[in-house]
Point group: C2
Chain length 419, copies 2
């Protein structure tokens, strides 16, 4: 026997206090999203390996935990590649399984289909502080809705959820892949090279405009072209109101074809600004790229300016579901950074609201067995009124026991003595 | 690209209606158990392979999904056995991970520790109707409590949970491994052979006393010994009251050492009968074996007599945690058969209670964008009052759309026309 106490490398045991917080947060997310008509779904944690390696996962495809074939299918003697020994893998996100799920169950799903998924995903990243190889994702997606009613609802619902979790003064930054493209093309960048340009642009918040300028010119791009490109972003940064920021860039690009990108952002901006119920600001960020190549239109990201980090994002990905379904299905999704939300709430000392104060019953050793039912009946009555009631045997060191119970939240204690 | 629509073999996509039921049931289970002072915990879905193959999993150890080693650790060229290519596996239950978790985190956990786990487990069983290779388990366990306060609370809490889910007239059948042993030894069976005797005894409900008699005699056991053994079970079946059934068997065994088994069952029976808040009967079933070899004392199982099936069970397993912790830790657990509960509730047409009736807003094509915020504001107000509100674009075939919405539960519909 070869037992180990530690969890597997890069994954963690979740202790009761964090677990309670996670359940609470999951509850708030689920309740809020369900009130918007999102319905929960579940997919298996494993997928056939071909679904995971088809190019929809970006770099995540390098991080797949593969599952060993079994029985006769496994032929180790002749195995050369990983594909010879593994035909399934652990999902690395919830978007690829959702696309497969929709294709598989389309006839039994409403259209548009508003899906809520909360589940673990696995990525074999290099273990580091705060990053784990198993982590929870919380996604809402609207499939089959081509209009930006989808974007508007996703942003409002995600914003409301964060607000209910106590987040304030956050931003939801928004952009459109079609504008990203138009901005680059109108400055003279080659369409086929926009990918590498966007990778540099994506660093704007870290290295600033000068950093972007120097990287792009080092890559061989003409200095005047790069200057023109960077000037576009300055136009926007001068405007404080989102609709004015969008209009300003629109005026500058003039008749340059935007494939409807500006109108899209303006409609979303007006609806979200007017209807939002949480304390967040919608910001037009033309430097927002979002890494995944599958995005086709609107993209968005939650920014927590005080902390300098993001805790969620998403966008429109009209192409992916069709790869599984065999026909086009418009799709748009918003993913909350669950683990980061938990981390922030923990660091900020969030306390879960309790309905009634928890009570601990301590039973002295030797308490007559025939009187125990009375204790259970009393506990049952308290539970019915919403209290959490812990029934435990009294320890020799009762003082220490009470201190520990207080730490667990049991401030009220009732003792049952044998005589 | 090699996409497949179907989920992996033996695992299933969970559609919205089942998913909603699952979430509801998880909520009832969690709320009830938490009111008893059980705290949620989570362990990674993968374990180091040595933890899964140490003999605590019985036949489940043959059904492990193993996870391929990665990077330099994987040497396919020299691989001979599965152990050469896989160092982790998917958990096949929640009890082994709990034992490791307790050993790993003991200093940060209260004593006794009341754990609530709800999570998926994986077993590569032969695919068959109603049995899946990924399924949910719901376990409560009390670690560090040697007295049968643990058993009593587990039975009462699990019974109350099933009651709240609408189950009625069910039984919780109870036995004690020490009595099983005493009954066999006092009839002359060899202690080392009790394992094979119990495997036959376990079939009593299927093949009856005559079937057990014929199997045991075919195995070479003396007919008189087998008859004496079977007569013990008849003594109990004549009694309708649980305490009298226990007392009757106790009187028959006389002074034969029971290691405290009778007293244990009597105490539990009296407390549970007096304090239960749900509509179940506690039944002494001396033929109850429970398959896992790790049980050391009390064992129990939920029986649904109308359906002839079980939907949960558990028992005391004082030896397992110590194998990880290096010192003895008493432990007792109760596992609800989550998937079976879902199946039964679905078949019985269970309806999830709704706080307020769900409303669908239909927006006509061409509805002015600047009036959309008003719709969102109206939806927000309804949501605040507890309603689920779906906002969707009106379809050309509105009649069909309304029918489909009604199927999803949206009986109330409000239309927004462009003029």
């Amino acid at each position: 026997m070869n037992y180990t106490k530690k969890p597997v490398t890069g994954m963690k045991d979740i202790l009761p206090s964090e677990s309670e917080l996670r359940d609470y947060v999951k509850g708030v997310i689920s309740d809020t999203y369900r009130s918007w008509g999102f319905t929960p779904i579940e997919t298996p944690c494993m997928e056939n390996i071909g679904n995971l390696t088809g190019g929809n996962g970006g770099d995540n495809e390098k991080l797949i935990f593969k599952v060993l074939k079994r029985g006769e299918k496994l032929n180790l003697a002749d195995a050369v590649t990983e594909e010879d020994v593994a035909d399934m893998g652990m999902r690395y996100d919830l978007t690829v399984p959702l696309s497969r799920y929709y294709a598989n169950n389309e006839n039994n799903l409403p259209s548009p289909f508003k899906a809520l998924q909360m589940g673990n995903v696995w990525r074999a990243e290099r273990p580091q502080k705060g990053r784990y190889r198993q982590f929870m994702q919380c996604d809402i997606d609207i499939l089959g809705e081509p209009s930006n009613l989808a974007e508007t609802e996703l942003i409002l619902a995600a914003g409301q959820t964060l607000g209910r979790l106590g987040f304030k003064d956050f931003q939801i930054r928004i952009n459109d892949r079609r504008l990203l493209k138009a901005m680059a093309l109108c400055c003279g960048f080659n369409e086929e090279k926009t990918g590498e340009v966007f990778i540099v642009l994506d660093k704007m918040d870290k290295i600033g405009a000068d950093g972007v300028r120097s990287e792009l010119t080092q890559m061989g791009y003409d200095a005047a072209m790069v200057d023109k490109y960077l000037s576009l972003f300055e136009i926007v940064s001068g405007e404080s109101k989102i609709t004015e920021a969008i209009e300003a860039l629109k005026a500058t690009l003039g008749d340059y074809p935007d494939e409807g990108g500006f109108e899209n952002l303006l409609t979303i901006a007006k609806s979200v600004e007017a209807a939002k119920t949480a304390d967040f600001e919608l910001v037009f960020d033309p430097t927002l790229v979002r890494g995944m190549s599958y995005y086709t239109g609107t993209i968005f990201e939650i920014a927590l300016p005080g902390l300098g980090i993001s805790c969620g994002g998403g966008g429109r990905y009209d192409g992916m579901v069709g790869r599984f379904a065999g026909h086009d299905v418009p799709a748009c999704g918003f993913s909350l950074g669950f683990e980061r939300i938990i981390l922030i709430m923990t660091e900020q000392g969030f306390k879960i609201p309790e309905v009634a104060s928890p009570v601990a019953f301590l039973i002295e050793k030797g308490y007559p067995a025939d009187k125990l039912p009375g204790i259970f009946a009393e506990a049952a009555k308290l539970r019915e009124s919403g209290s959490r009631v812990l029934v435990v045997n009294m320890k020799k060191n009762k003082k220490h026991q009470k201190e520990q119970l207080a730490e667990e939240g049991y401030t009220e204690i009732k003792e049952f003595f044998k005589d």
